[in-house]
Amino acid sequence: MSDHHAEHPAWSEPDAPSAPAGPAHAHAVTPADAADAARLVSFGLQPKLLPARDAEYAELLRRYREDPGFGRLADAVATGLGLVVLEVSARAGMAIAADEDSVFAVRMGDYARRTAADSADRFLHGLAHLAVAALAFPRPEDLADDGYIGRITVNGVDAFVRQTCRRLEQRAEELGENTDPATDAPGLEAAWRVYARRSSTGATKDARRLAGSTTGIVGKAAAFLTESGFLQRTGDEAGGTYRTTPRYQLQVRDMAGSAAMAELLELGVVPVSDGSATLLPPPEGDDLELAADAGLPFHA
């Protein structure tokens, strides 16, 4: 489960209380050890807390990595709470994710109330999260590279998805398809069309973002991910600019990406990839688009 990264050269050792650590004591688990392990997990449950800012957190992380017995204990505590340990390292801290049925899991209905009744809203909120991830890690190697930091803007994400939808609309038009959905089967409406017909913005009485607009939905996703310790807000331009944290990369790479992919495969859609990035213009055809102000981190 845990991924021991060998990247802690500047691992400061503050006035280490070096308690009953060490392999010698690893076999005898004391209540104090269990308390420490649970404490470490509780630090992991505060995703915005950085190990560099908290000496106790840093010390417990060090102990996790140096004392296998303690590490197993902390893993067990996490598992018991319905948590999955993604990585324990200096850069990400104790990166844990919630199991599907854990009390810590976020449910769509709690996230946005309208989604319970309205399947279009439910889709849009989910798509916003997926699009944020897709623009934060535009290329497969960005997701694989531990040192990579993605940058997104709310308006950029919206413009990007909208543009993709517009291309699909144009293609449907070229093929002469009537994409207007049948009235009695709204569930058969093409997904892109749901996004395309939702307005991207709207004036409100109190000058806040219109919650039901697509920028409102993407903005909500970005704000929520910031609360989850996955993004850091860096500015207010273009609807809000954000950069990713190592935790987000782990979460998308090890949890969300594969879960969504499994679901897609179950639907019988097999996306073929040769492992190269499709967000860059492919050599043949122009299936894929880049949105203006998407702020994609291109490497010259």
Partner: protein, 501 residues
Amino acid sequence: MTLPAPAKTLPSPAPGPAADEGLARRLRALACTAPLHDLDVRKANLAGEYGVYAMAEVALAAIDMVTLNMDFDTGADHEQIVTRLLPRVAAQAPARPAAEHERVVRWVLENLINVGSVDRGFRAIYGTFGPDGAYVRRDYDFKLIEEVLGHGGAVYLRTTDEAVNVLVGALDTDVTSAQIAAEVKLEVLISRGRLADAQLAAEQARYRTVQYAETLRRTLDATRRNVRAVDWLQAVPDMIAEALDHVADRYRHENAILTNIRKARDEAEEPENKRRAAELVDIVKDCIRRHTQLQSRLLDAGPLFRAEQDRQAFAAPAPRSGIDLYGQLVAPLLPLPLERARRVTDAFFASGAGLRTPVSVRVGDLVDILLTPPVEREHLGAEMREPDLIATPDDSRFSEEQLAAATRLLDLPHDAPRRLSGLLAEARRSDPDLPYLVALLAVHAASPAVGTAYRQGEERLLFAVDDGTQLEDAEFGGADLIVGTALLDAAGMAADRAEAA
């Protein structure tokens, strides 16, 4: 009486998809007008007596207004549209209070945006026959005025294609040729003095111009997103060259028209014709402004393409690994039907949104929380300390009285300029310090602030001229300037300024 029906031998119109397609198109076009009719129907439901207002008329005027005020980059400002619509609404019911007029305008605008719906759009239902002959009811979603994000996060209004089509009618024609036609028509009309028709033609020409700009904006936008999406080898360069020619051509053309109408305006006898011509001048000026804007965009297109190509096409190939979130998830997902696509986004959300620690409340705490009186909010903040003000010594070289005396001295009649030497001597008689101030003002007047005076609409301007005479004075040297006052044509300048604006 009845004629033998030849129709019997004719084939009946095919109920298949081909005939249906045209019908569906017309049904959609018809649907776009429904929101306007709906306004007049629903005005009865408003609290108050609103029957006197012609809501569909206000709505059409609003769509006109937004179309004409749409800029290249953003859109029309909401408040500005409201302000400009007010006179029309006020004219419909002059006796009613202004607040009610404004309410009507806002109501119409909000209904055109359809603020009440979550999509901010309209939906019409129509039926078609599918390829298998089955009758299917379909939803047609459209918008008339949409809200878009401008610079700095402000929200602007744009009319959609549907709205423009509703407004101007069959626009499915070549933009360029339609514009040429409109302008030829305009010239003929002006030469015959039929200004009422000329105004209509000019307004139509302006719709075309706006449309043309919009087409171009979209092409450039697409280029910015993906250079490969646009044919930069032939189609776009051709289009840019064509558009530049077009701009140059229109610019000449419209300037000629402008000159003509200005003449017509000044020579017109009837006040009605004079007013029409003046309006026409405004419209043509607006056309010219839009062309200039278009042209600067066209000139930027080449560099934009090269920069985008550098950014998009020459990225280094990278090692392979990881999931391609876009190519393997987003792209295959969007064409799926909503029900299926939702399962994928749900899965991504469930494992990608992160975790939340559930909030647990103890009953003991709850009682405390509920019984705690609310904290009095300090509206005024902390008390300000009385600021300590220190009087700064007045270190001006000249006093107010001296300035007044000098100004009085230099307040010369426009037909009687004086020599500086005389002014200095007169100043010296009253105050030994005054000549310095007079000399200073006179030297300044040698380079009078003509531009400022023009902008501020001054009627008089002090000036000084050197005619080569040496100044003979104990304290000062240099030229014995001729100081005088020039009268400026304030009214003429104001007219010029209005013209230039």
